[in-house]
Amino acid sequence: MNFTNFGRYILLLKAAFKRPEKWKIYMKAIFQQMEFIGVGSLGLISIISTFIGAVMTLQIAFQLVSDFIPKTIIGSVNRDSSILELSPTISAIVLAGKIGSAISSEIGTMRVTEQIDALEIMGINAPGYLILPKIIAGITMVPVLVIISMVLSITGGYLGGTLSGAVSAAEYIQGITTDFNPFTITVALVKAFVFGFIITSVPAYEGFYVKGGALEVAQASTRAVVVSCISILACDYIVTQLLL
């Protein structure tokens, strides 16, 4: 994103955060988006998180070959990795692909078929009506998904470890309950909040300014996912640096 695009992105956000014409209509749109982003992504996030947790356990067990390191470490490493990095970041990247491309395509198609012009002619603040509900749904539902992802990732680690025999149930549970720092949850939720904002606002920007037809909508969708993923990784580093 060059400086011109960044300026337009900020101006679009400013327009999106103007006072809604009618809160009742916006609330309906917010709940629809929450269902789409939250409920609609639950299955995918659940599967990915469970498998990542299971694989993490196996890999940690594979690397911890020393008899001097207790196996309870497997649980605690899996817990901290899941909470701090894997659940927020992997979930966000997966959601950027699933939700980001959908948002960009939806708004881009509305642009090229003059539906956004129709909203503006009616006197409706198009950025507000189209983008604000998505951002609110993103910053509320992504943290919820990340919490679910954390739980499932740790549970997946338990299942993977015990089923393969890499770690016993007692050792794993002892590991995940030892030296737990609740602040890691705060860091993860701050990340999830920031990622939720990026996942919804960046694709909305890419879609909103599409010019052309189907090809340009597809290109905007691809660009939205790429820019969202890079932004997520950059913000991941910044948030981690600031909070830890």
Binding site: E21, T113, Q115, E120, I121, M122, G123
Partner: protein, 250 residues
């Protein structure tokens, strides 16, 4: 009434509109015609505020749209109905929800009152009972009619139509033209239709503004257009052999 004065609009080095002025009266069908690239759609977009002219004014009953702030513009836009070239119906909404959308946004009517208005508008465009269909389930002509129904839902003072006949068969085009004319006369709206459909020109053109290379080249009615000897206008209007033969007989 809508009055435009000395409208100039450029895109980069390309000056698309070169000082266009004119008056569009209520209760009659005003047509803006011209070849591709003549600037008619750009002029329409300048009038409704989707483009910002570099120079000139657009006055809606004396209110200069180009000088108003955002809130004042929104108030005028609530008085505008617009039929888009591709209908621009909201894909995710049914016919009923599309027409009800501006009512939901800007009125405090009860659901039954809004439903009555939706049914009235659908009846007006001969689409009774199509409430629950989605835009994807409609034909091109039906989409245009739903577009008209949505445009008139708020009882607009000003109705804009961008190429209302594009992609339609001749019979459906006539139905749409007649509908626009009837609504204009019935509600005394200031109606502006951008078209290059010659059937519309001859059929409903009470007032016609002909644009050529970004300038107003001619204005008059459909009765006068057949008698004109302006070469550029004749080349455009009577381009086909059939129209030339019709003009000779006229």
């Amino acid at each position: 009434m809508i009055e435009i004065k000395d409208i100039h609009k450029s895109f980069g080095e390309n000056e698309v509109l070169k000082g266009i002025s004119g008056k569009f009266e209520p209760g009659i069908t005003n047509l803006i015609i011209g070849g591709s690239g003549s600037g008619k759609t750009t002029l329409l977009k300048c009038m409704i505020g989707l483009h910002h002219p570099e120079q000139g004014s657009v006055a809606y009953d004396g209110r200069d749209f180009t000088q108003l702030n955002t809130e004042e513009r929104i108030e005028i836009r609530k008085e505008i109905g617009m039929l888009f070239q591709g209908s621009a119906l909201f894909d995710s909404m049914t016919v009923e929800e599309n027409i009800m959308f501006p009512l939901n946004m800007f009125t405090e009517q009860s659901r039954s009152e809004k439903l009555d208005r939706v049914n009235f508008c659908l009846e007006r465009v001969n689409l009774e009972g199509k409430n629950k269909l989605f835009p994807a389930e409609l034909s091109g002509g039906m989409k245009k009619r739903v577009g008209i129904a949505r445009a008139i839902a708020m009882n607009p003072k000003y109705l804009f139509c961008d190429e209302p006949n594009s992609g339609l068969d001749p019979k459906t085009s006539i139905v749409i033209d007649e509908l626009i004319k009837e609504i204009t006369e019935e509600y005394n709206t200031t109606t502006i239709v951008v078209t290059h459909d010659m059937n519309s020109v001859m059929g409903i053109g009470d007032y016609i503004m002909f644009l050529h290379q970004g300038k107003k080249f001619w204005e008059g009615s459909n009765k006068e257009i057949a008698k004109t000897d302006i070469e550029e206008l004749n080349d455009f209007v009577f381009a086909s052999r059939f129209m030339k033969a019709a003009k000779d007989k006229f």
